[in-house]
Structures are given as C-alpha cells and as structure tokens.
Amino acid sequence: MKKFGGPVLFLDRSDINTDEIIPAKYLTEITKEDLKPYLLEDLKLPGFDPKSSETGKCRVVVSRANFGCGSSREHAPWVFEVNDITAVIAESFARIFRQNMFNCGMAAIELSKEDIDCIFSFAGAGETVIDIDMNSCTIRAAGGGRVESFNFIISPFDKALVLAGGWVDYADSRY
C-alpha cells in the first residue's frame, strides 16, 4: 500500500477538470514519468503557481466539489503520482477520476463540506501537513499550531483496490 500524507496543496475551487490537471497536448507522452513537468499547468487560481517550490513539496491535494470532472484521461492521477501526490481530498469527485485514482492504488477521499471548510481554514497559516490512515479511515491535519481530525468513509471495494495496489492485480487474481 502506498503512503498517504504530507504537505497540502490547497486548490480552492469546485469543478477542477482533468484538462486543467494535465492539458490534452501532453497526452501524446508514452510514459507516465514524462508527464511530470506539466502538473496543473493550465489551472488558473489566485496565488497558485504550478511551478513553485511549495507546489513541488506537496503530497496531498485538498479541493472542493466535483474534482476531476471532464475527460477520462488517467494521465490526471498519473501526473499526481509522478509528482508524489498520492491522495486527493475533496467534497466530491467526478466518477471516472475517482475510480482511476483507486484503480491506480491511490486515494480519492470525500469529506463533508464542513470538514473541507475546516481544512481550508488551515490555508495561509504556514505549511499544513495531513496524515491519512487508511485502516482507521481517519485524517489528521496539522498546521499553524492547530490540529484537527476527521473521519471518512471509503467503500470496501475502493479500500480493497488500495490494499491490492490497484485494479489490474485485483482483477487478475479473481476473474
């Protein structure tokens, strides 16, 4: 199982689409590693710079509703993965993106709007670090001298995919 946790990248907008996560012109790359420089290249958010060193340090993305909508491109989870971001926490996800994350053994975790608001209240007060425990289904957020904990629900199937390291190994052993 992958390790989930680390410094947080806050993306404070709903409906962030997979074209913004990885523009289509880079879908011609044949290896996942080649996608690395293009993470979130077309995302326009106040104060956000995809090339900054802060962005480069992040290991968890926190965002709002309907994260990963649009194109089915699995290049979106892959560009996170090759940048060492293995978990996204959001109010809700587009179906294909969410499934792609779990299929790759990564985590797409949904929290209530109130919990997401609470995590966003950490933003701007120095580095925020999140730890995710997939066994107890808890998230611990720490930063600016504060600590908050959250419980999440993950479907048993999605959890099984994370534990198996993805859908190919899981399916190959069963079907």
Binding site: D15, N17, D19, E20, P23, A24, K25, L27, T28, E29, I30, K32, D42, K44, A65, N66, C69, G70, S71, S72, R73, E74, P77, S92, F93, A94, R95, I96, Q99, N100, N103, C104, S155, P156, F157, A160, G166, W167, V168, A171, D172, R174, Y175
Partner: protein, 427 residues
C-alpha cells in the same frame, strides 16, 4: 417493482458482487483509441499478459490525431496498430478508414440495445443512444477490460427526464442537452445514469440521440440512455437483418431493454421541449448556458463544426442548409471536420462539401483534432471559437483560447455573421 434500462443491463451482465454496491459486469464491447490505449498495452506487455479476452469484441480506431502530426503521435498510432495486428483485431480502423470513435463505431453497427460498452474516453456515454449501458473509463479499467472482459461499477441510480412536446424549428438535440446541463449543473448527474424519454426524443433520429447522450458526461453522468424503438431498429437493420425475420421481431427483442413503466428513479423531471431555445455556453464550464438571444453579437475568430457530438451527416446537412449560397464573414476561419469517412463521402455526394467550401470553410479529414486542442484548428491566446464540440474548458482548444458550445445551425449562422447569431433567421 420494475427496472430501469441500466438495472436490466446490470442484472443481465453481472459476473460478481465482491462487495455490496459494487457490480463487476461482463462486457459486450471494448472500444479503443490511440491516446488512452497504448499505456494499457505497454503495461500488459510489461506484466507478461499481452492477451485480449476476445478479439471480436474489441474495436479500435486511430482518431484523436490522424494523420499523425509528429513522432510522438506516430508512435502512439504505431503501438495501437501493431497491437491490433498482433491480436488479429479485425475491427481496426486506420488512415483512409478511420473516423471519430463515437461516430464510426455506431455507424458500423457495433452497438446494440442491452449492450455493456466501455472505452478509455469520457464521451463513451454517446452509445447509450442505442439503449446500451456505455461508460467512459480510465486506462486501468480499459486494460482490465481488454484482458478480462469485465469492468466494475457502482450500482446505478437513474435520473429520468421526460421531454414533453416538440422542439421548435431551429432547436436541436444539442440545444436540449445544453439546456439540461445548464439546469442540473456539471455534477448534476455524477454517478447517475440519465434516461431520456418523451415525444421529442421519440421523434429524434439516432444521430440526434447520440448528440444528446454524448454530453451526459458534461453533467457528470455515467451513461445517457434512450429507449430502443423502431428508429433504433431501422438504423441497425443493415447489420441485424440476418438475425431477425422482420423489423418487428427485432423491435420485440430489443424492447425488453426499455425501462419498465413502474421503474424506480431517483428523480423524474419534466421539461417542456417547446420552451427550449437555441443554446450557447458563455464561460468555461458546460453548465454556463444562455439562450442565443442573450449571447448574440459576441465576436468569434473561428467556427468549428465536427466532433463526436456534432460531426455526423445530419449535422452537416443542417449547417449546409444555412450556408447554401452564403459566404462566411471575412474575419472568421471556418473549419469543417466530417466525423467519419462515410459522413465525408455522403456529404460529397449530396453536394454538402461544395456548399461548405463555397462559403469559405476549410474541410479537414475526420479526426478529433481541434476539439481537445491537439491539431487541425488549435486556437491562439485570446482567440474565440464557436464550436459544435462538447467542452468549453479553459484552454481546451488551445492555451488561452475560449470556446462557445452550440448547435451546428447556430455555428453556421455565427460563421455567416462573424459573431454569435440566431440560426432561426436563416431557416
């Protein structure tokens, strides 16, 4: 309790229920293109599992960038081509025979009522027009589909729209689906199947139903679904005539996939189709929709007619109806991309291509190209395109460019005037 179409299809294809709420389904058809399949092929090779579950149930096309524009896209095409040959996938479409996936596969009669279909492409929901469950998936789901012929889904919830009354002249399936997305939002159907019912759907051609279902994903929908009827049977008849003694017999068989009258829906929404007007998007999300009257006068640099949404013969006929004997505005670049070689060839025979060219359009070969900013009509920074495609995301058609989504009729009127224009004055 009756069943929705998706519930019937799920029940008939269930292979496993590893956990409550998770359904592993047997797949009737796995569709492939050269953007999302090569990495699946590469991974299967690396795992020593370079096999396919059933070469006859796999269909493949090179469509996103074709002919290849550079070494990288040529390599992607080569990986898919070599794989199709290696596994004797006979339904493979390459240069000269290739077209936009969600136009060419239905045109070949591959999608039947009651089918389960996946593809590594979000607009796979298009094929629900045939009464199928068709879902876009990522590369890993595609890889497992290729290897095992199965895919896992959550239990489907269905939302139903009843389209009452008839669409007015100048209002098309594209306007209707933009109207619906504008009402329910870009995540209004997430993890849901959308069923379309009602008089205006019953009267629609298969082409229009494909336009409608194509954009279900823009509301987050897993699959759009229309009920199979005699229109479906007539469209498929050239491919199924040996399977059934008559069209009525085919209809009787396919009708079992129609939703039951007492099926349970999460929501049922009635829409008065007579109130729907030509629709145009205004921002960077497909649910930012206004009427053409509200958007009229916005200048555009380019008009693009094509794609899996609106690149079929019916779309070209409608646009040509407005363009005939007219010229597009001098400052506008008009691009037509017929979605398949058959669409192109039929349009040539009908004189439609001449009408477009006389009006000042450039006609490209069938390809996804400009829709996702890959080739054949990419925008420059600050440019605006009136487009019959499906996504207006920021940068979608080129970094810094803007897209207004609309019907082929509205796109043609806009080309003539050089600014967003109401098509009804030209009908």
């Amino acid at each position: 309790m009756g069943k929705t179409t998706a519930e019937k299809i799920f029940a008939a294809h269930l292979v496993d229920e590893p956990f409550p709420g998770t359904r592993v389904l047997r797949l009737d058809t796995v569709l492939c293109h050269e953007i999302t399949t090569p990495i699946a092929i590469d991974d299967l090779v690396r795992r020593g599992k370079d096999r396919v579950f059933d070469a006859k149930k796999i269909k493949a096309v090179i469509d996103h960038v074709t002919p290849s524009k550079d070494s990288k896209t040529a390599t992607q095409a080569k990986i898919l081509r070599d794989w199709a040959r290696r596994h004797a996938i006979s339904d493979f479409f390459d240069i000269g025979a290739n077209g936009v996936c969600h136009a060419i596969f239905p045109e070949k009669g591959y999608i039947r009522p009651g089918n389960t279909v996946i593809m590594g492409d979000s607009h796979t929901c298009t094929h629900g027009a045939f009464g199928a469950f068709a879902a876009g998936v990522g590369t890993t789901d595609l890889e497992v589909g290729i290897l095992k012929g199965v895919c896992a889904f959550r239990e489907p919830k269905t939302i139903r729209f009843n389209l009452k009354g008839k669409l007015h002249k100048g209002v098309y399936a594209k306007d209707l689906i933009l109207h619906i997305i504008g009402r329910i939002g870009v995540n209004g159907a997430t993890d849901r199947v959308i069923e379309f019912h009602g008089e205006s759907i019953d009267e629609m051609s298969m082409e229009s139903r494909m336009t409608l279902c194509n954009m279900a994903i823009e509301a987050g929908g897993t699959s759009g679904i229309c009920m199979p009827d005699m229109t479906t049977v007539v469209y498929l008849w050239p491919f199924i005539s040996s399977e059934f003694p008559s069209k009525e017999a085919a209809l009787a068989e396919y009708s079992k996939w129609r939703a039951d009258d007492d099926a349970a829906y999460e929501t049922v929404t009635d829409i008065d189709a007579t109130l729907v007007e030509p629709a145009v998007t205004f921002g960077y999300k497909p649910d930012q929709v206004k009427t053409v009257s509200e958007m009229a006068g916005e200048p555009v640099d380019q008009v693009y007619i094509g794609s899996c949404t609106n690149g079929r013969l019916e779309d070209l006929r409608i646009a040509a109806g407005l363009l005939k004997g007219r010229k597009i505005a001098p400052a506008v670049r008009g691009i037509l991309s017929p979605a398949t070689p058959k669409v192109y060839s039929d349009a040539l025979k009908e004189g439609i291509i001449d009408i477009f060219m006389d009006a000042g359009f450039c006609v490209t070969n069938p390809t996804c190209g400009a829709c996702l900013g890959m080739s054949n009509g990419v925008l420059a920074e600050g440019e605006v395109c009136a487009s019959t495609t499906n996504r207006n995301f920021m940068g979608r058609m080129g970094k810094g460019g803007m897209v207004h989504l609309m019907s082929p009729a509205t796109a043609a009127a806009t080309a003539i005037e050089g600014k967003i224009a109401d098509p009804r004055r030209y009908l």
